[in-house]
Symmetry: C2
Subunit: 92 residues, 2 copies
Amino acid sequence: MYVVLIYDIEVDDNGAKASRNIFKICKKYLTHVQKSVFEGDITPALLQQLKLELNKHIRENRDSVIIFKSREERWMQKEFWGKEDDKTSNFF
Amino acid sequence: MYVVLIYDIEVDDNGAKASRNIFKICKKYLTHVQKSVFEGDITPALLQQLKLELNKHIRENRDSVIIFKSREERWMQKEFWGKEDDKTSNFF
């Protein structure tokens, strides 16, 4: 399945550290697209594994993660405007 | 069609103002989900109108907007972890 993962980490004393850890974990499984946005193909099992790893760093009452899931990438077209720091984008 | 819009505005002198304007414009067309993340059903014509309005505030070499488009919402399941400030989410 194809997913887009977006995280929002509260900027407080431990926020920067949590954010760095979450970024590194996401990078192991998905492609970095923009600041706190990742995308990519992933199996349900690996997505579960990613969640377990992230759960160690996500602070339930402060931080949030959203995952948009689609069965296939072609059902999720992507469009970019402005400054682009992602090599995998596909303009439509 | 169903879209997820994510913007990333560079934090500089005019960044705060640009961010406020962009937030207000997005709120007219889509549902706010998380910090700089919006989602919702929108027609191609209205998406074009949204782009034109945003283009007045997006600074090409500093800011970026990503839009993920899917023909229908049901092809884009959403999952939330942690702090949730969106009433339209649907857990799976």
